[in-house]
Amino acid sequence: MTEQTPVKSSPSFFNNPRNRSIIYQILLFVGLAYFFYGIVSNTMANLEARGIQSGYGFLSTTAGFDILMSLIDYDATHTYGKTFVVGLLNTLLVSAIGIVLSTLVGFIMGVAHFSHNLLIRKLATAYVETFRNIPLLLQVFFWYFAVLAALPSARQSLSIGEAIFLNVRGLYFPGLIGEPGSGLVYGAIAAAIAAIFFLKRWAKKRQDDTGQQFPVFLTSLGLLFGLPLLALIVAGFPFVWDFPALKGFNFRGGITVIPELMALTIALTVYTGAFIAEAVRAGIQAVPHGQTEAARSLGLKESKIMKLIIVPQAMRVIVPLLNSEYQSLVKNSTLATAIGYPDLFTVFVGTTLNQTGQAIEIVFMTMAVYFVINMTISFLMNRFNESVSLTER
């Protein structure tokens, strides 16, 4: 009988998971380092061969091109750094309008899916299925080249009450110009918002303590309109309307919305709205029907059921989806460049890059901006999500 040697219990060096993971990571690191070394040295050589200086010095040189629309004072004598700011503000403007409008459209269409009226239900479904399945760029082109380009000329513009005009050059509506004393009104608006905030906290505390409800919504509405109105009367209406009027070949005065902005906003709103409608529908469907029935058997009114039972639970599903829809809306706003709306992409990556050739710096700055905007949206929406998410004890 031969003595059996006991099986070695510790695995060989390479079969040990710890050693193996270290080897894998070292291999990946060496591979990546080699890859980046190659890229950097190639880029340096290429840049030198093309005679492009690297660095951010170009930001303080004169741009020398005009921008179609600018929220701040800008002309061709300003610097490339200023073009960056103009583009950034235009991007923020179209994103903000798009987010507000698409949320509105999305919620209306999402709730319409549960309407008692068959026609409304079918229309909501048709809207979602149509616009979700058509590329966004195509929709932008459709609004810009097929619809808005077919509007009448400035002389035959469509108008509402000689105050709002719509023609092929854009949408014109009256603007408010503040005169001395208007600061009081702005102050009143700020005070009203602060008052509503405290009122809400006080009302919640009172309900927790005594069980009595306070009509927060109506009071807030009253505050929001009452205080500024009072300030208006006290200050003696320090605002004048600036009406657009046809002078020569074009309208002057008032606020002008250029067709590029209109087309982009409509397309972004309609496209993102379809996705938000789907999110809202999914959120409401995720609330078990028993919740509605339980609320009804308690004798709650239908409007209260929606507000207190369904919407808070549906929001848990809706908010994370909204977060990603908002982020893709901001990213999709770069399509502005296809129709020439001067957003960050058109102005900075388009024209400025073409003129300076500083590809790396400009692409890097632009990506950083979109990253920061999206991180901000994500941060805000996550904060909001925490307030609506399920608290388990």
């Binding site: 993971s21 290429n46 309407s115 399945n133 590329p135 901001v330 770069t334 990506m367």
Partner: protein
């Protein structure tokens, strides 16, 4: 003693059954609903007849030039005359069979993954899928296999959208799978590299990625090498798609019950055996609807290539609209036609994904 006399049974109340009740319930259940119904009906009546008239009845269908468009309706002659370019771009007319061959091969490979038996599927379909993009490039380019060389400048039209989207998703599949695994890995360096890759390609606008592909990527290659524009676009699309798919796969991995991993471990399977044989099939099953949704997004986003000068279908339409023989303002017809093509493709894909979702739904709901 009183006798029990049953009352005669009553007929069902008339207003809770039948078509009249259905109409009442669905259209006129309240005053607001009735008003909404009437308003919508009035809108439909004013909008739809002229629309259909323009689209179909007074439309111009026959002819070859713009002069044939004499009626007031849509000028479909424009779309018909350009249909070849819309679909194939400016690929040489006598070589079109090559594009068709690639499309048929794509359909055949997809069909094989559905029709073949389980054993053959793994051995034939998966390698065929992975080889397809490269074989298609060989066929379409032609210079390596003795056919007439066709430069990528001539590739275009809707077939380019389809083939590019398919080629990107096929290569993105294994890549995103690796990234998702990396993100779940215990190895800190591999995990952080995966997270950075995924978040970068998800966080940046796809247009910025395309610009990177067209203005920055050439700087990264050694001096003197000239990498084809379409190839760079393909790389960018693949990486973009991989970022999104990796997140889809991550969700799938998380949805597989922990017991499955433990059972595989207790059988003594190695990491790759466990991942490929036990986990991956379940992950793919769970993630299929989301994969299709991501694919639909990528497919729609191929139109963005217009901006960096690739002649995909939208770009071809723009060119056709500015052609000097067709300056009659046919943009509505052109965009409508492209929209309908995309709508049919994307809608059917979303239907397929919904049916897969229903088929795989083994949970017991009531």
């Amino acid at each position: 003693m009183r006798e029990f006399k049953p009352l005669p049974s009553q007929p069902a109340p008339q207003d809770t059954v039948g078509p009249i009740h259905w109409i009442k319930e669905n259209f006129f259940s309240s005053i607001i609903n009735s008003a909404a119904t009437l308003i919508i009906l009035a809108l439909l009546v004013t909008v739809l007849p002229p629309l259909f008239d323009w689209l179909l009845f007074s439309a111009n269908w026959s002819g070859t030039t713009q002069d044939a468009c004499t009626k007031d309706g849509a000028c479909w002659v424009f779309v018909i005359a350009w249909s070849k370019q819309f679909f194939y771009g400016s690929y040489p007319a006598e070589e079109l069979w090559r594009i068709n061959l690639c499309l048929i091969a794509l359909i055949a490979v997809i069909a094989s993954s559905q029709l073949l038996s389980k054993e053959l599927r793994g051995k034939i379909s998966i390698p065929a899928f992975l080889l397809l993009p490269f074989v298609s490039i060989l066929i379409l380019d032609g210079s390596w296999i003795g056919l007439e060389y066709v430069s990528t400048d001539y590739w275009g039209g809707f077939s380019l959208n389809v083939l590019l989207a398919a080629a990107s998703i096929i290569i993105a599949f294994p890549l995103s799978f690796l990234w998702a695994l990396g993100r779940r890995s215990d190895m800190p360096f591999i995990r952080s590299v995966s997270v950075i890759l995924i978040e970068f390609f998800r966080g940046v606008p796809v247009l910025a990625l395309f610009f990177m592909g067209s203005v920055m990527l050439p700087l990264f290659f050694p001096e003197g090498t000239n990498v084809d524009k379409l190839l760079r676009v393909w790389i960018v699309l693949t990486l973009f798609m991989a970022g999104y798919m990796a997140e889809v796969f991550r969700g799938g991995f998380q949805a597989v019950p922990k017991g499955q991993y433990e059972a595989a471990d207790s059988l003594g399977l190695s990491y790759w055996q466990k991942t490929l044989l036990i986990i991956l099939p379940q992950v793919i099953k769970i993630s299929m609807p989301n994969i299709l949704a991501t694919f639909v997004m990528l497919f729609k986003n191929t139109t963005f290539l217009l901006i960096i000068g690739i002649f995909e279908v939208l770009s071809t339409t723009q060119t056709a609209l500015t052609n000097s023989n067709w300056l009659g303002g046919h943009s509505t017809e052109g965009y409508l036609f492209v929209a309908i093509i995309f709508w049919i493709c994307c809608y059917s894909m979303s239907r397929i994904s919904a049916s897969i979702e229903r088929k795989l739904d083994t949970s017991h709901r009531n």
